[in-house]
Each structure stands twice: as structure tokens, then as C-alpha cells.
Subunit: 406 residues, 2 copies
């Protein structure tokens, strides 16, 4: 009745602050089952599977696993490979050779697709095999999920960063543009609004990939805010596009470096922020214009993590082991919100998650496409976790002037 | 005997994570003295003084002051103005009109110079007046100080950021270049080495303004590390210069925007990182090259602060009040290291601090000018504060391959 064999766990795509919680969740839970002969980790994601690069997590101390769980970025290392049918056949061949009966892949929607294809091949080969996709992405763009592990901590970083730069911009006024990760989904950029506490706090403007970006509207928006407050803080998603879906960074720069998936390079360069700054400087004649690109810090910064995110990332890993080993099921674990704030986990069909992208619902974006609604704040608040730092201002009264006004 | 009158406190230059600790230290301490009739804060630094923009901190609740102390960035707002003789005469005129007898200016070496000139004018005018400079700068570039308030928290941010990006770069290998603030002094960039735990951890290369930057040496260094580890993490100071003192950013880009002090714009743009990436990509033919510019996050990020830095920033503020109001002295407060780790505060002559810049001592930089010595690590470690997060790796043994090697 019980399916005896090995477990393989792998991590794919961009790392997050809590991806190792999921790894450790599966590992510790899987090690408890007598039918599990070994728990292997594949190095460098699916690439490590085809190269037979496994480490034996059964021989890892529980204590060290707990330390690793609290360390950001994929402890098993990662890959950008997006396997096709043939690649997946290689994966399956190696897994079978090692008597692997349980496969857990921690990643985004591309990883879900890999799990789906490998699982199909096992079925075709009549090889008894369980395959589970464990969700992970700072972009929060998996369908059927209320949110995804990794997003909460990245959102906490972005909100903390904007809390600080808003204070900095208030002390030394000017225009500040912060560029946030997110190719198709604006959730992470939208999280910047959690920095707003006082009525005039930034970010004053937020631009997402979900809404076409118009140069002229952008300049009008910045001018209006700058005239009002004498300063302006802008949050921009790296993935903003025009009405034809052309990335603004391509349009403004002509740069075309593409990755393995045929996508334009968005991260690891400050060019979008610099181009938008230049636009504001030349068109609006504002002298102090600065931009920062948050880059890799937002997904790997050690010491800025949401405890809610940590807990959930651990639990999706544990639940994955339960579904596969206890219940003998395949699928993708999803997070469902059941209250304010409570969650439950359930199993989705792999084909319902694989390769699909969720974007920001309309009710989270204002009509003008340059700001975020309170519905989103209510949605995102619990995901930031406990102890989210809050800024305070002086409230001391003004003193009457003595000398003549200059 | 006791000098009766008002206190004015102002904050100048770039904000830090703990600059409000100093503000609150002076305010709470000054409010205890009966000869102090009022404690005023000047808005926007010296600019607020000449415009008579004061708030009455005597009427601020102690509770709110404590909340503000824990908030990064100048609560009294700031200025980039660097007053000359005439400007300082205006300052003195306003301070005298408001019966101000105690002036505290929290800032870097430019601010110390302002305090010095204003104090000279009071002496000339035979006006009984105490003036104290309170140190603050993330650059850690004040002479006669072991280190400066604000540096420890910024160093903690930079070390945390590199801990994360090193893990990220290990998971998805390539070349990563992180650009850190610091026009003349490399202390902050050097702090990145606190991310090194395992022998192959980055940053593998560190370039500072103290050592001329040679394009060819840089490319050779990156190639050597990349050949060795299959990846390379680089920390670069925004202020790196060639052998003639010409900023590398100017040399590579031709960009020349200058600030009020006649300095080339270094922060608030990703251009240096992008240019260095381009160099590595084209000359070394390495495909995955990424750069991040840490920008304003490193001086304002809420939630990443050194408790040692907080404590010391508070104490320099308190000691400033003591020297001026108890002892009737002028000067600049300095931090002296007395053990590992303990400090003491003392009063320096304003003219010994004003306008002078301290840079990294030779013994903190390796002979090649591309790395940092253990002496620096020993120096900087206590300044990062308690609970500095540490990364952990898996130590699980490798599994033997079954299929033929591909």
C-alpha cells in the first residue's frame, strides 16, 4: 500500500527570503515516514537532476536545517532553465534510476509546468510516482492562490524601503523614483503604499505593469504632486509597458538584452530609473531628481523577513509532504485566506497553476492607474508580518517670527 | 553664573538611521536645566534659522520624542546649504534676536565648520554663546573620531545586503556589482566584507576611493575570481577615482551634473554600476552580469539599525548638552574607543574637526587595493550592533552518480 522509495527536492527560479523554510518543511516531514528511504536535494534545480547532482538531506542535522530555514536564497542553489518535453524526459530518467518516488519542486509557475510534464511521463511509463509543486515567488503571480510564499517578506522590504526614502525625501526635498521588481504583476510595487502613514507621505504615485504607462500623464502627475508638496516620491514597477505592451525601458533606451526565456533584461540595471529621472529633469526643470533601483536586495536581504511569510512557507512544505506521502496525491499547494488573518492550504491540479500568471485585480488600482486603493492595503497588511516598523514625526508647535520676513 | 536663554538644535546634510537619537538626546537633556528657557528646533537646518523657522521642542511630549528617536532621517528636516561668512552672520543675527544662548548642530564636517564660524561671530560681538557640533555621517569620515554616529547602522545595512546578494549570486551564478555610498572615504563600502563567512563568500573584490581604480586591473581581478568560483561579487564605492583623482563615473559616462558644493552627482543614479557591468560583459564575455546601486536605502532603511549606533548617537547628544550647559564649553563631541568594545566621549576644538576628511587607514586595505584586511573586520564588527544576521549553508554529503556522466 505504501509507496517505498526516495524523495527529491529542488528549488527553481529567483530565490526568496523564505524559500528554505519550504525546503526544510518538506525535508523534516518526509524524514518521518518509514517508506521514505532517503531524502535527496538536487543542486541547481532541474539542472542538478539531469546532471545527477544530489546531496543526501537524510544525513543533514536537524539543527543545521533549522538554521538554513532562516537563511534567505535557495540553499540547494537554483536555475533559470525552463525544461521542455525532452528535458523533462531526462529528469524522469534520472529520478527513476535513483528509485525516486516523490518529487517536490519549489518554484513559480514555470516550475509548476515542469512538475506537470515530469508527472505525465511517469504516468506514461507506468511508474508509480508522486509530484508536487510548492509555490514560491516574490511576484505573487500564481493563480488560485491568495498570495505566495516569498511575497510577504519582499513586500516588507519594499514597504520599509519606501518608509525610509519618503522620510529622506521629506528632509531633502526633490523627486525620488524607486524601481521595484515585477515583470507582469504589480503586487510588489503596490506594497510600497504601506509606507504611507501621514496624509502627505509618499509614495505619491505608483505605476504598475497592469496599466499602460503614458509619458505625458506621468510628467503631469509628477508636476501636480511637486507643486502641491514641493517634493514627490514615485514607485515604478520594472515591468511597466506602453499601450502596445512594449516595455518602457526598451522604448526609452533601445537596450535589448534578453534572457533564456526571451525576455528583456529588467533587473540588475539602473537604466529605467535613470531614464525616468532624466525625463523629469529635462521636461519639468526640477533640479533634484534621484532614482534607486531596489534590485536584488528586495529578494535576498537578510534581516528583513515577515514572520507570517516564514510560517506559511514552512507549512506549504510540510503540507506538500503530507499530500504526496500520506495521501498519495499529485498537485500544487495553494494558500487560501480564511479570515483576517488566517489561512488554509489546499491541493490544486498542476495544469490549473502551470504557466499561468495572476496580475493585480482592478479593484486594487485606482481609476487613473497611478495609485493603489485601500482594498489592497487591507489585503497586504497581514502579509508583512508582526513588528513592521512605523515612522513618527515631531508635532512641536511653530514659533512666532521676530525679525521681518525676508 | 548660569547662562540663561534658549537652545536651538538643527540637523544638516544627509540623514542617517540614528540622527534623531542625537536630536532627542540634546532635547531631553537640555529641558532639565532651569537656565534653559526654551528648546527650539530649526526646520531645514541652517536654512530654517535664517528664515526663522523654529518649532518649540519644549512643548513636545517625551513619549513622542522617544518614538521620533527610533525613526530614521532628520525629523527637523535638513539642508545641503554650506554657509559662508555672510550666511553665518545671518544665522547669528537670528539666534541673537531670539535670545538663543546654546546652539547645537548635528552634521558632518561642513556642519562643524558652520558652528565654528557662527561661534566666532558671537565672540566678536561679545555675545555670551555656546556652540556645539554633534557628529553624524554614514561616511565615517570625521577626523579625531574612532567612528561616527550613523555609520554603524549604514554598515549593518551594507553588510546585510551583501550577505543576501552573495547567497543570491551563489544560487544563480554570474558577476554581481554592488555600488555603495562614499565620496571620499571607503569605510561603508569596506563594511561589505562582514558578509564573508564561508571561505568562498563574496564580496570577492572591494574597490575604494582611497586607491586608484584601474580598468585593466579590475577586469583581471574579476576574471581571476570568476575562473576560480564560477561567480564573482564586487563591492564598489561610488567615489572611485583614477590615478589623477578623476571620478570613474565621469570618465566612463561623461555625465557632469554638479551639486551646490561643486561635486559631481554620484548618488541617485545607477550609471556607475551599469557602466562597470557593460565593461565586464563586453571585455570578459560573461553573460550574466548584474549591478545594483544601494542608493538612499543604505542611509534611511527603516528596520535595519545597530543598537550600538543608536546608543552612541543618543549619548553624543546628551554629552553635547552637558558640555555646553553644565561646563560652558564650545566644541565638537568625538567618540573614542577604549576597549573591545567600549567607548568614551570627549570634546574637540571645532577648528580641529571642521572641513577635514578622514579616509581609510592603509592597514585596512590590502596591498593590491582590491580587498579589505582582518584589522578592519575587527574594527567594524562591534559597530554593527547585536543580533547581526548570519547565513547558514547545507552540509549534506554528495550522492554517488548512477548513470554515466553526461
Amino acid at each position: 500500500m505504501k509507496l517505498e522509495g526516495k524523495v527529491v527536492i529542488a528549488q527553481g527560479g529567483g530565490p526568496t527570503a523564505v524559500i528554505n523554510q519550504s525546503l526544510v518543511g518538506v525535508t523534516l516531514e518526509a524524514r518521518k515516514f518509514p517508506q521514505v528511504t532517503r531524502v535527496y536535494g538536487a543542486l541547481y534545480g532541474v539542472q542538478g537532476i539531469v546532471n545527477e547532482e544530489f546531496v543526501d538531506l537524510t544525513q543533514e542535522t536537524t539543527h543545521n536545517l533549522e538554521q538554513v530555514a532562516n537563511t534567505p536564497s535557495s540553499a540547494l542553489l537554483s536555475t533559470r532553465d525552463k525544461p521542455d518535453e525532452k528535458y523533462c524526459m531526462e529528469i524522469f530518467k534520472v529520478l527513476k534510476a535513483h528509485d525516486v518516488r516523490y518529487f517536490f519542486y519549489i518554484g513559480g509557475n514555470d516550475s509548476a509546468d515542469t512538475v506537470r510534464i515530469v508527472n505525465e511521463q511517469a504516468t506514461k511509463a507506468d511508474y508509480e510516482f508522486r509530484a508536487i509543486h510548492i509555490p514560491k515567488t516574490i511576484d505573487n503571480d500564481l493563480v488560485l492562490n491568495d498570495h505566495t510564499p516569498g511575497f510577504g517578506s519582499a513586500a516588507r522590504f519594499v514597504a520599509s524601503a519606501f518608509t525610509g526614502v519618503n522620510l529622506d525625501n521629506r528632509a531633502l526635498p526633490g523627486v525620488y523614483i524607486g524601481v521595484v521588481m515585477g515583470r507582469n504583476a504589480g503586487f510588489l510595487t503596490a506594497s510600497s503604499v504601506m509606507a504611507q502613514k501621514y496624509p502627505d507621505d509618499g509614495p505619491h504615485l505608483v505605476y504598475l505593469p497592469e496599466h499602460p504607462f503614458h509619458r505625458e500623464n506621468f510628467l503631469d502627475d509628477v508636476k501636480r504632486i511637486y507643486d502641491l508638496y514641493g517634493r514627490c516620491v514615485v514607485a515604478v514597477s520594472e515591468g511597466i509597458v506602453d499601450e502596445n505592451g512594449v516595455p518602457i525601458v526598451t522604448k526609452l533606451s533601445g537596450n535589448q538584452e534578453k534572457d533564456a526565456h526571451g525576455n528583456v533584461q529588467l533587473s540588475g540595471t539602473g537604466v529605467l530609473g535613470d531614464l525616468l529621472s532624466e525625463l523629469v529633469r529635462t521636461k519639468l526643470k526640477i533640479k533634484r531628481v534621484r532614482s534607486d533601483t531596489f534590485g536584488y536586495l528586495q529578494r535576498s536581504f537578510i534581516g528583513c523577513v515577515s514572520d507570517v511569510d516564514q510560517r506559511e512557507a514552512r507549512e506549504v512544505g510540510e503540507r506538500a509532504a503530507h499530500y504526496a506521502i500520506w495521501y498519495n496525491l499529485d498537485g500544487s499547494i495553494s494558500i487560501q485566506r480564511t479570515g483576517f488573518y488566517s489561512v488554509n492550504y489546499q491541493l490544486e491540479n498542476l495544469s490549473d497553476i502551470a504557466g499561468k500568471t495572476r496580475t493585480m485585480p482592478d479593484e486594487y488600482i485606482n481609476a487613473e492607474g497611478n495609485g493603489i486603493t485601500d482594498e489592497f492595503k487591507y489585503y497586504v497588511r497581514p502579509l508583512l508580518g508582526s513588528g513592521f516598523p512605523v515612522a513618527h514625526r515631531l508635532r512641536a508647535p511653530k514659533v512666532a517670527k521676530i525679525l521681518t520676513e525676508k
